[in-house]
């Protein structure tokens, strides 16, 4: 069977459904609706129309020769998901799931968010479809991403700061799951990544696989051949699965996922789930995760809120184990250097998440050399990160920051 044909609920020994019984009926309902939708031409054309007239698809590719000088002079091509409406790839999945929710007659969307990108995208879809929207966000994240909190509220969403546990993304997911258990009749949980119980990993991947399908054709047209490598950052792993999927059965195309190594993957402050974690059950699925000897989840750390998650999607765990994709760590400092470099050499300010893919590409390009072509998923833009980048690079005038 082609690797692209994996439909869950299991990817090798990963995936499944480790959830309270109360949620099984909702997951079954969602799975059935999704199975119908994926072959339903009316659904697919409605989604395609939205992507054409609202998301801004197809997103372009941009070759970046000045940046590539720092990547061993390999040919580097960016897939510009940063140009999508709301500023990242997240909108692909959100519109797909919101359409499904509409079909299921659900009037209320709930979501978790870390950096706020998925929350903003969900609030956007809720506004577009006239649905109620509640976003759970760790209290720590509402403080470091205050601008996105304001964006969500402006879009009409209710943002609930989560004060339990580590008060970050993983706890926001816990609270969203609790809300869903209690309100499952009226509510769709719009999970933002390729993790969670089946059907989320496969469904979210399918809504994002358009990234790789477009990029594969675009690179072929530009260069006349497939790229030697495809790179992406990996937190939960949705943008990476989105761009990897079209290439899974192209054996000559290497796939690289770059995890957030924070202060270093050998320190205690990182989010390098596959590099440093081991298999376990978190948030409804079996996959790699960061945990202590007792199986308690360990808090992750990354300068990028969107990668600051101690789990990863089960399909990535499987691709790692079968050797189809490689997962490597990138530190905060490496990512920030790549962010500055792309800004200065190409006039494109990437999200800090995506900067991890750029930093990995710089290393990879030096290994592969000038004959190689590398396709990078530029999953988001950096507007939301100006506070972090401004502080990191000391860009603010002292007076202005007082």
């Amino acid at each position: 069977m082609a690797l692209r044909d994996e439909l869950g609920p299991y990817f090798g020994e990963y995936g499944g459904r480790y959830v309270p019984e109360s949620l099984i009926a909702a997951l079954d309902e969602l799975d059935s609706a999704y199975q119908l939708a994926r072959t339903d031409t009316a659904f697919q054309s409605e989604l395609a129309q939205l992507h054409a007239t609202y998301t801004g698809r197809p997103s372009i590719i941009t070759e970046v020769p000045r940046f590539a000088q720092h990547a061993g002079n390999a040919r580097v091509i960016l897939k510009r998901e940063d140009l999508n409406h709301t500023g990242s790839h997240k909108i692909n999945n959100v519109l797909g799931q919101a359409l499904l929710a509409k079909r299921l007659g659900k009037r209320r969307l709930i979501a978790e968010t870390g950096a706020g990108q998925h929350g903003v995208a969900t609030a956007t879809a809720a506004a577009l479809f006239g649905m109620e929207c509640v976003v759970y966000m760790g209290e720590v994240d509402t403080e470091r991403q205050a601008l996105n909190v304001a964006r969500m509220r402006l879009l009409g969403a209710t943002v609930i700061p989560v004060t339990t546990g580590s008060r970050t993304l993983k706890d926001a997911i816990n609270d969203a799951l609790r809300d869903w258990v209690a309100n499952v009749d009226s509510t769709h949980y719009l999970l933002g990544t390729v993790a969670g119980p089946h059907p989320f990993p496969v469904m979210v991947r399918d809504f994002h696989k358009i990234i790789g399908e477009e990029a594969r054709a675009q690179v072929l047209e530009l260069t006349g051949r497939l790229p030697d490598a495809v790179t992406a950052c990996v937190g939960g792993g949705s943008n990476a699965m989105g761009i990897f999927h079209a290439f899974l059965d192209d054996p000559d195309v290497a796939l690289y996922g770059y995890e957030a190594a924070g202060e270093g993957h050998l320190t205690e402050r990182h989010a390098a789930t596959i590099t440093r974690g081991r298999p376990g059950v978190l948030h409804g699925a079996r996959s790699y995760m960061l945990q202590d000897d007792d199986g308690q989840t360990i808090e992750s750390h990354s300068i990028s809120a969107g990668l600051d998650y101690p789990g990863v999607g089960p399909e990535h765990a499987w691709l790692n184990d079968i050797g189809r994709a490689s997962y490597l760590p990138i530190t905060d400092d490496e990512a920030m250097e790549a962010l500055r470099l792309l800004s200065r050499t190409e006039g494109i300010i990437p999200a800090i998440e995506s900067a991890h893919a750029l930093a990995g590409t710089m290393k990879l390009g030096r290994e592969l050399g000038p004959d190689a072509t590398i396709l990078v998923n530029l999953s988001g833009r950096g507007d939301k990160d100006m506070e972090t980048a401004g502080t990191y690079f000391e860009l603010f005038d002292k007076k202005a920051s007082e």
């Binding site: 499944g16 459904r17 480790y18 959830v19 309270p20 019984e21 109360s22 099984i24 009926a25 909702a26 339990t164 546990g165 993983k170 706890d171 816990n174 799951l177 609790r178 258990v181 209690a182 309100n183 499952v184 009749d185 376990g280 059950v281 978190l282 948030h283 409804g284 945990q291 000897d293 007792d294 199986g295 308690q296 989840t297």
Partner: protein
């Protein structure tokens, strides 16, 4: 319902039922507010009318728990709870009371400890079995095998939203009792125990259940009495945790005794 070996829990519940009432199941987490107090509090449950102890293992991501239990288990983790303390607590409690102790745990700690090793150590500590809130029977292959081998009880959850086929599976796979989730929600006291519980218990009986306990939202003797009007047992958690947090072991003892009044026949029983 699986009947390999003799389930003490099932026997206790059946005896209470035969006496014209039903069982009271009381939940408390290990390590809250500290290890010794949690052991003393669990023993106090047994001494004040609780028929089955549900001993919770604190976990970092307790998706089935409301704020009261979350706060308590988070405090236990911050206080240095380790999985090994769970077995120590079971041993310490069962040394002091004959009331059976079921361990309530999310699945990942068991998986990491090793399902067989966990089962063997639980047997050695005197535990009766496991209640697994985030493990459905579909994913429970390792646990089904380990519980068959050791004779430990395995309590799966049934929900108002479960299909008839899934209820039948929960009944078939459970031993000790089936945990009927009273309402679509998480743990925490509620003023009304959902009428959905009554329907669910009837559906479970139709699926062959002979031992069904209702949990989520039960916090008063009247609610216990009401639930025992149609179910074999009533499970109380947050109300006991609140008592322990506010007034220590004495308050837990008082609350347990008050709840246990709901298991006695009175004119108001239905």
């Amino acid at each position: 319902m699986s009947t390999v070996g003799t389930s003490t829990v099932e026997t206790v519940i059946a005896e209470r039922k035969a006496a014209g009432s039903g069982a009271l199941v009381g939940y408390l987490p290990v390590g809250f507010p500290d290890f010794q107090t949690s052991v003393d509090a669990a023993v106090a449950l047994a001494e004040n009318g609780v028929d089955v102890i549900e001993l919770g293992l604190p976990y970092s991501d307790p998706v089935m728990d409301g704020t009261v239990i979350q706060k308590a288990t988070q405090a236990a983790l911050a206080g240095g709870f380790k999985l090994a303390h769970g077995f120590d607590a079971v041993a310490a409690i069962t040394a002091r009371t004959d009331v059976p102790v079921l361990v309530m745990t999310y699945w990942n700690p068991v998986l990491q400890y090793g399902v067989d090793r966990f089962s063997d150590d639980l047997v050695a500590a005197g535990g009766a079995g496991l209640i697994t809130p985030d493990l459905v029977a579909d994913e429970a292959g390792l646990w089904l095998a380990a519980s068959e081998r050791t004779g430990l009880d395995r309590v799966f959850l049934a929900a108002p939203s479960s299909t008839d086929a899934r209820l039948a599976q929960a009944v078939e796979m459970s031993r000790g009792f089936v945990y009927a989730v009273s309402t679509m929600g998480i743990t925490g006291a509620r003023s009304d125990v959902d009428t959905a519980a009554r329907t669910l218990v009837a559906r479970l009986r139709a699926a062959g259940a002979t031992s069904t306990c209702v949990g989520l939202g039960i916090s008063t003797a009247d609610q216990v009495r009401e639930v025992l009007g149609y179910a074999d047992g009533a499970i109380v958690g947050s109300a006991l945790v609140t008592a322990l947090a506010d007034g220590g072991v004495e308050a837990v003892a008082r609350t347990a005794a008050a709840l246990a009044a709901g298991t006695r026949l009175t004119s108001s029983s239905t």
